[in-house]
Assembly symmetry: C2
Homo-oligomer: 308 residues x 2
């Protein structure tokens, strides 16, 4: 049989999956990617894993989602800080091992495409998928197609400006959306708050082992009524509300999906988000958008890559 | 002969033009629109003016650009603060007088389309046209088509968030791009500065008649070396740089055009704008965009309407 193959290529691992025409994942595998400074070696290692997974079956097409600045036309990674790569002709490297069509795309675009294809109602054609995880990325679907822009760089919403003099971002600028929403920023903020001695049910855990303070725990504490943890998610929702206000004014989408680990806080974020969003003066585009947490966040990247 | 007819319908006047298949304006007229609380009366008045202008010729199609929240599918003005109208079925009102196809569109969308069709190079398909005037609006062209979004509200870039606690905007929110760039906001800021006694070559004019302080004069003073006036345009450029940074990250356009009165300050804005824009960390989308002041700003609204 022939299958679509999806690869979600990240800084620590590459998730790989076989996907049917009916968009079902039938086989999965993964490869560790840390310690592969040579991109050709990693491409060979992943290709072997794909062939192992396929057995007697064949790849109909291969889609690869990669965190970084990607040129989807040429299939080149311009720069991927997570992989430590620059100007890697990824498509060519995989063509050494496979004869089928190969597509390379930014990972947030791939995840966005996966959510759109598998979770958006049929009559919906303008959608933004925001990946809220370690980083914050976006996939934009306009008129039913993945929108890439002039150089495949569209949807870089994690670095929208929230406050010019806000916290320092990994990108080098200040006050990007990611500094209010990204996992490591949240953890740092909470640990610093707990270290200063704020009142919180997380204090016991923090004193025992600060490394155990994760977004998952902060969400749990908030759900159990911890005011400090709730205020953290209110900050996340408010920043998202400001950014989404701009996105709604600019793109007037029908739906926005959240995916990624931070999105699992769900209602803790959505409440304050909508309070901020409703402060926008023009109601038509605000009322037109629905905002949801996407299902199956853990597989959406590799599924989206397979559907590219 | 048959002509395309364009109408740029604003709060003080409606500009009307006959346009050839070669996108040339061959006849023009205008109608005062203030004091027409009844939309049917104004539509009749404009229709008579069009028939006068056409003489023995005929309208092939009529396009109308209107400031406000427009439903282009139904040809309805949802709300136009400038005209003081709500839920006006403009297309229907004009269909009483004409048999040809009639298109109603937000005025910034119409102007954007006009600039795109007449001034963008042929191979360019992703363009943002920003109207910088009394208000700040945008027309977005993606993949060679005017992008409207779910409810025709896309491109409302004048109310993007620049600073959450910034100046109060006409829309009711604070810190919108328009409060840093819109003509009345600039004038108010400069008059207040001059009133406080800042050192500026505009002081003589201000003491004689504060009402004569216009964006045109502020630009003139800046060009002649007035530091205070230059700092005003630096503020405009910086705010535009922040907003355009977001637009470039989100949409990765090939070109951005400015039109409208404020855009005529040209290099006074573009210098500081690029300084702010170049601070963005991801260079690929920033290097991919070119930013220009559009030609023939005074006719682009009515021309764009005719080409809808």
């Amino acid at each position: 049989m022939k299958y679509r193959v999806g690869i979600d290529l990240g800084g620590t691992s590459a998730k790989i999956a076989c996907v049917t025409g009916g968009w079902k994942i039938v086989r999965e595998t993964s490869v560790s990617t840390s310690g592969f400074p040579n991109s050709g070696d990693l491409a060979r290692r992943i290709s072997f894993a794909i062939k192992d997974m396929l057995g007697k079956d064949q790849a109909e097409r291969i889609g690869i989602g990669v965190a970084g600045d990607i040129d989807p036309d040429r299939g080149v990674i311009r720069i991927s800080p997570n992989l430590g790569w620059k100007n890697v002709p990824l498509k060519k490297l995989f063509q050494r091992h496979f004869n089928c069509p190969i597509f390379v795309e930014n990972d947030a675009n791939a995840a966005g495409w996966g959510v759109y294809k598998t979770q958006a109602p049929k009559n919906i054609s303008n959608v933004i998928v925001m990946t809220l995880g370690t980083g914050v990325g976006g996939g934009i679907i306009l008129n039913g197609r993945l929108y890439r822009g002039a150089t495949g760089s569209a949807g870089e919403i994690g670095h929208m400006n929230i406050a010019e003099k806000g916290p320092l971002c990994n990108c080098g600028n200040r006050g990007c959306l990611e500094t209010y929403v990204g996992g490591p920023h949240l953890i740092k903020k909470v640990r610093s708050g707990l270290g200063r001695g704020v009142k919180s049910s997380l204090q016991a855990q923090f004193r025992e082992n600060p490394a155990e303070i994760t977004p998952y725990l902060i969400a749990q504490a908030a759900r159990r009524g911890d005011r400090y943890s709730q205020s953290i998610w209110e900050g996340v929702g408010h920043a998202l509300g400001l950014a989404i206000g701009d996105l709604v004014y600019i793109l007037n989408p029908q739906m926005i999906f959240f995916t990624g680990g931070i999105a699992q806080a769900g209602p803790l974020i959505l409440g304050p988000l909508w309070r901020t969003l409703r402060q926008r003066a023009f109601k038509t585009p605000v009322n037109a958008v629905s905002i949801k947490v996407a299902r199956e966040a853990s597989h959406i990247g590799v599924l989206g890559a397979a559907l590219l």
